[in-house]
Amino acid sequence: MGLGTMGLGFDIAHMLAGFMVLASFLLLYQDRLTALINVLRLHGFILALAVAWQAHIQAAPALYVSAVIALSVKALVIPGALDRIVDRLGIHRNVETVGGIGPTMLAGMALVALSLRVMLPITAHADPVSRQDIALALSVVLIGLLIMVTRRNAVGQVAGFLSLENGIDLAAAGARGMPLVVELSVAFSVLIAFIVIGIFLFRIRERFDTVDLSALEAFRGERQ
């Protein structure tokens, strides 16, 4: 990549990473499971685009593989499977969230400000593409955590966790020359994790007739 193409290449990378943060905000306030999964699909799709763009501007063909993995696993397979789970369990109803939408969105914005404030100064010497990518990726990770803590529903928490993983994938793609083995294993581990999640959703359903975690909490702690 020559410095001449830097301008546009950088802008598009920046824009795609920004779209991911935007999609994270969309995830943050979805109150229906089907919509939540659709936004998660969009999230995975933007991730695939962002990784493919990184492959292009870094001239790193290995990253195209990561982009294909992101597209197939995170944009197609996992949201598809989540849809099936929601269908089979018949839980299209609203998702209960902790706290209202307003405060949650404000908290999300604060997290984005925080991650920019933390990451931009310390990466001053890194190259600008990774710099922006890492800062926005951290925002996605933190919003993913926020989604997890504001959902009382297992599917909602899983969506938060998957968006968090997407953020890490974005960071890994932005780190120029990072060996592919890591991204492959990230994708792989997400798959394994998803199998585990799937099994648990069914087990929780089987035991409690609901995937609402407040039903689970009745059993927490020590039995008297």
């Binding site: 990726a137 951290l138 990770v141 955590l145 997890m148 083995v181 294993s185 394994i192 585990v196 689970l216």
Partner: protein
């Protein structure tokens, strides 16, 4: 390469083999045999180390962890063989689940061994995640309400921790890239360490915060400890033993590696104070929480948090003596705590419950079991003549000269935990007999082996062992 194959390929091959065989008597034996081969392989490392490569690295530090890991893995497989027979009889587990259990057991050992010998920080991360996921599956194996809740909580908190650790790993690579160049060199321990002095300190600082929170979750440090008591209490007891004895150590090992890296970079923050703070908070809070436990496995799970707090405190104080004491404490804790969980497993099976109110007078009804439990608890409470007394004494005395206030707080934590453990031990081991008194049929050999080693370490530390630990302590800086 042969010892490496014994430590890595044997557990992996055994996992596949165990998935194919249905008879649990055979699989239990294969499980023991594979764990024994891995232990033997790790002993070979003591005499002959493979040259460090891009994937695997054996040095003075991780060899301590590997030998301990494979040894406790082996003794746990022996204990597990007796334990599962009883679970099958009482119908808590079915043969199908046992097949799954044995496969997962070997995958977990493979994951932990891989994390310990990995030379690449990315590979190490993958291995820790593999070990975590396999234990999640085993914690939920009883499929009771409590087990599913515990496994879910463990899965969510563990995954978040592991995700944060990956973010930290990426940041370390970003710090290394301008110095080492692109490619896998920026993820290999030896390369990282050789060039660490030129890394961007601010980036490395941020990376360490993520790594400390991420791997710290897996170490069980307060306030990221919420998964630990549930996972210990609701899973099968052999898994509680390896969770406390091994998996916490593996996460601690990862943390120590990054601490060495940070220490090699002059401009970076000192990792010590962060570790000391988390360690002290963990010790004090866990010690207080010990008093309100009613479930015997939860009691010892909180004791593990307290112990890990002491160990992290010791490594945070650092210095040759602090590191030496930390390594010794970690080894003693692994051996003692797994021995305690072995006894607790027998006790819970005899009494048919984990509630401490329904068990008592163990020394009268089951003299052998009762007295081994007494010995284990006395050891973990830090009383002489056991090895934990030696290491805790070293930790306290070495930190008193440097930070008297911190050392006083640590001693306070130790005393509070000591009181809680002895209080519980009184009603468990002595006093009126409560609960069923059927005899224990399972073997007590693993318990004796562990306690004998802990006793030996308390009475006399063999000079080669001290020299060995001292080398490792030097690496830790």
């Amino acid at each position: 390469m042969i010892p490496l194959a014994a430590v890595l390929a044997v557990p992996l091959a055994a996992a596949f083999l165990l998935a194919l065989i249905a008879d649990y008597r055979i699989t239990a034996r294969i499980n023991v045999a594979a764990s024994l081969v891995a232990f033997a392989g790790s002993l070979v490392f003591l005499f002959h180390r493979p040259a460090p490569g891009p994937l695997f690295l054996i040095d003075d530090l991780n060899i301590v962890f590997i030998v301990l890991n494979t040894f406790v893995g082996f003794t746990t497989s022996v204990f597990s063989a007796g334990y599962i027979g009883h679970e099958l009889e009482t119908g808590k587990l079915t043969p199908g689940y046992l097949r799954f259990y044995h496969t997962m057991f070997q995958i977990m050992l493979f994951g932990m061994n891989l994390a310990l010998v990995a030379a690449n920080i990315g590979l190490m991360w993958v291995a820790v995640e593999l070990a975590t996921l396999s234990t999640v599956m085993m914690v939920g194996i009883y499929r009771t309400h409590e087990a599913i809740e515990a496994a879910w909580k463990y899965f969510i908190l563990g995954s978040v921790g592991i995700a944060l650790a990956l973010f930290g790993t990426i940041l370390v690579y970003l710090a290394a890239r301008p110095v080492i160049g692109e490619g896998s060199g920026g993820m290999i321990w030896t390369d990282l360490l050789a060039h660490a002095k030129n890394f961007d300190p601010a980036l490395l600082d941020t990376a360490f915060v993520f790594l400390l929170l991420g791997y710290g979750t897996k170490v069980g440090l307060v306030p990221m400890h919420a998964w630990l008591p549930d996972a210990h209490a609701e899973g099968p007891t052999p898994i509680s033993a390896v969770l406390s004895g091994l998996l916490l150590n593996v996460a601690l090992y990862a943390l120590l590696r990054f601490k060495i890296l940070l220490a090699a970079c002059p401009g970076a923050i000192a990792p010590g104070p962060l570790m000391i703070a988390l360690g002290l908070v963990s010790t004090l809070l866990a010690a207080l929480m010990l008093y309100r436990r009613r479930d015997i496995k939860r009691l010892f799970a909180y004791s593990s948090i307290e112990q890990m707090g002491i160990i992290v405190f010791a490594f945070g104080m650092a210095g040759p003596l602090g590191n030496l004491a930390g390594l010794l404490q970690m080894t003693m804790h692994s051996l003692t705590k797994s021995a305690i969980f072995f006894s607790v497993g027998h006790v819970a099976q005899v009494k048919g419950t984990q509630r401490m109110a329904e068990m008592g007078g163990l020394t009268e009804s089951h003299p052998l079991l009762g007295w081994t439990l007494v010995a284990g608890v006395v050891a973990i409470a830090g009383l002489p003549p056991f090895g934990i007394f030696t290491s805790e004494f070293l930790i306290v005395s070495s930190s008193f000269s440097r930070a008297p206030i911190l050392a006083t707080l640590l001693v306070l934590g130790l005393l509070v935990a000591f009181g809680a453990l002895l209080l519980r031990l009184g009603s468990l081991a002595f006093g009126p007999v409560r609960g069923p008194v059927v005899p224990v049929r399972a073997s007590s050999v693993p318990i004796f082996a562990h306690l004998a080693l802990v006793l030996l370490a308390g009475l006399w530390l063999p000079p080669p062992l001290v020299a060995w630990f001292r080398h490792a302590a030097l690496l830790l800086g």
